[in-house]
Amino acid sequence: MPNFFTDNSDLLFQFNRLDLKEIVQLTEEDFHQAEKFTYAPINYEDAIENYKKILEVVGDIASNFIAPRAASVDEEGASFHEGKVKYAKGTKESLDLLSKAELMGMILPREYGGLNFPTTIYMMAVELISRADASLMNIFGLQDIAKTISQFANEQLKEEFLPSFSSGKYTGAMALTEPDAGSDLQAVKLSAYQDENGKWFLRGVKRFITNGNGEVLLVLARTEAGTKDARGLSMFACYGDGTVKVRRIEHKLGIHGSPTCELQFNDTPAFLVGERRFGLLKYVIYLMNRARVGIGAQSLGISQAAYEEALNYAKAREQFGKPISQLPVVSNMLVDMRVTLEANRSLFYQTSLWLDRKEKYEELFERLKAEKKSLAEVNEKVKEAGKVTAFLTPLTKYVLSESANKIAYDALQIHGGTGYMKEFKVERLARDARITNIYEGTSQMQIVAAAGGAINDVLSEYFDVWDKKEYKGSIAQLLSHLHEIRQIYFECLKYLKDKKDKSFQEIAAKDIVEIYGYLYVGYLLLQEANSDNRKIFTARRYILDALAKSLKNQETIKSELYSDVIHADTILQ
């Protein structure tokens, strides 16, 4: 029986390579929960064994249960009749099975029925599910909503909601977007008001809400009447009861299994999550960062599926007397896809690890603060992890979602005319991939978010450390290419700073973020090549390609390509 975890040598490579000691230590503290829960680990090795076993279970369900249903889910899609949303049959069956397998609360504390897994391991599960059916990820991946409640809500709310999230009885939705507040969430209008007893109610409209029919909704609402910015927004949890009307669901290009709802809140009773006025500034940022990493996992899963389709097709399809996989042009495309996939996976799990680090140290900080203990050391770690994730999260979302599109595009291309037909899986993958670089912040927004980190050279210390390592033979040659890219980076940065043209800088931010991303991933692959010979090929192709692209980005900036944008009105006439 195939298994999406054990059949994926590169995912296993990353799993075995991940250094989770610090994270497991922070997640399990002194492994004291082993006394209370038979399934809690007793030490580090036991924790890793648990993660592995559970990923095997997820891989089995993904490949043998979810994947065979994906085509019919796509065809049937979520539907809407008389105000009620209905999942496709396959979606419902898969969710039921995942609930029975106790996989719907992977990152929730054990006290509330969860497995207390690190985010990094959960993200591996999300990758596996996405490879099977990208649209199911939109519901499976909403565990982050429960996690947000777990992180910020009071004890009473946690008791109220979390056990049913863990058991799979409740699914969630995050209701942020409104017709006039998409990328610009500060403009959210949906209002929250209190009655004389202090109870909160919600009134207004939300749009494009993934799984808006869920049992529990996290809603961003304006509590401070008259305000117009982020400081007037708070976060609420409410039930998707009779007061929440689903007005319609969208008919989409892809991810048909995931219902996208327009919601109308008619004086819906709600619970305030955390503190007033921190809705967008703290809680949505937390949720959004996790969701963006989640989309990275979804992109990776789609990419893996598309690559596999292309590879299998190219091996089976014969033209000119041999399988097309043996044609140099096709085989070059396949190598390109595979190298991109591996580079992306490497970046992705480092980002997940940094996110884990950031959140766990933040939790530790709060605990120490409550116990009035020394904070200086932990504070440093929180700051460092915050700085790194602030760059890596948007970078990862940007790179992986754009790649998923490119890989699905190439996979379809390798299929030729056949790939354009509904009978083959690859057209679905190409459609499903298309949303990944739009939702949870478009690629353009990710560039804005990553630009600060790229301009401030936030990873320089890590590059310096990696520079001092020893590299053998051809790997040392690759290091010198990374140095060239670093030089290009400095020169571009200087050019932009000297130019002092804000709109030019905004456009060129994409070039800088890309170059800086190539550097980081290049160094990661160099480490991998140092310990695994096969990975030398991956590093070689990635870094040579990165150098070529960096040179192009540099040329684009220095040739002043973008300076005609001030004449856009004339050009676009």
Partner: protein, 296 residues
């Protein structure tokens, strides 16, 4: 009223994934090269037992006779929800046919004790005999219902069971205890439960504990055993001596079935059949090919 079930399970070679290297020159299978898996119909049997437990309460014990590594399927039974597991293992059981196997299983069941139901898959994918279940029922002197599709009703000491027969179904009422062999699509087996996987992943048989304690004293093995029992991680283990069995009825000695000849069949067409080019026609073809284990 609650019910106790015993489920007979078997670890089998994964015959769905036979490749060229697996078949030996003489037409026999090189088992070492095949991954060992949980016989699917036995998983269905376990699910049926677990559903009775869910609905009426009670207990479910899984039993397998096999080599030491058959403990894998018992752990998988624990992952699904079995309360107890028993490995019946002894070198002297090797080479057993269905007669010898059912003798050992029936004696083990007598030792395990009280039960209302015994469930088993219709047949295992390696031998395809479908005899072990019925023979076990005979030796225990209890009624049997084979090819069960559904348990329609359980009331007191009686169960009403729907059984598949050629061209239709039979509805039977059986007095408990009863042995039931189930069809592959009778119920859909539940997945392994994450918390149980983590809880029972280190469950061990006595044979595995002996291996763990290698070189150490018997006293140490006893200690280990108690430790595993107290942590609910002990898989009950029974040997020929534990069951006080008649050696002449076990293993090769107790197996009258002798393989007369093994023929390596080369598949070649000798007749043809017309398949209607419709969804139904092709569906029937696929069913037939799967039934014949040509694929699937």
């Amino acid at each position: 009223m609650s019910y106790k079930s015993i489920v007979l399970v078997k670890q089998v070679p994964d015959t769905a994934n036979i490749s060229g290297q697996v078949m030996k020159e003489d037409g026999t299978v090189n088992r070492a090269l095949l991954p060992a898996i949980f016989n699917h119909e036995d998983r269905v049997a376990l699910e049926m037992a677990l559903q009775i437990k869910d609905n009426f309460g009670g207990e479910v014990a899984a039993v397998t006779m096999g080599p030491p590594r058959a403990s894998d399927v018992l752990r998988e039974c624990l992952f699904m929800g079995a309360d107890d597991a028993y490995l019946i293992s002894d070198r002297k059981f090797a080479g057993a046919d269905t007669l010898a196997t059912s003798y050992v299983l029936s004696e083990a069941i007598k030792k395990i004790g009280d039960y209302d139901f015994i469930f088993a898959g219709r047949q295992a994918i390696d031998g395809d005999t479908a005899q072990v279940g019925p023979q076990t029922a005979e030796k225990l002197g209890i009624p049997q219902v084979t090819y069960a599709q559904e348990i329609l009703n359980i009331n007191g000491k009686k169960a009403v069971i729907k059984k598949k027969i050629e061209g239709g179904y039979e509805i039977l009422e059986a007095a408990l205890p009863v042995l039931v062999t189930v069809l592959k699509d009778a119920v859909f087996p539940r997945p392994y439960k994450a918390k149980r996987v983590m809880s029972y992943k280190n469950a061990k048989t006595l044979l595995e504990l002996e291996k763990l304690a290698e070189g150490n004293s018997l006293l140490y093995i006893d200690q280990l055993k108690h430790e595993y029992i107290s942590k609910h991680l002990y898989i009950n283990t029974m040997t020929m001596d534990d069951l006080k069995l008649d050696a002449d009825r076990c293993g090769v000695a107790g197996s009258p079935t002798k393989v007369h000849k093994i023929e390596s069949v080369v598949l070649a067409g000798n007749k043809h059949e017309h398949i209607e080019p419709t969804k139904t026609g092709i569906g029937a073809l696929i069913d037939k090919l799967m039934e014949d284990h040509i694929f699937g």
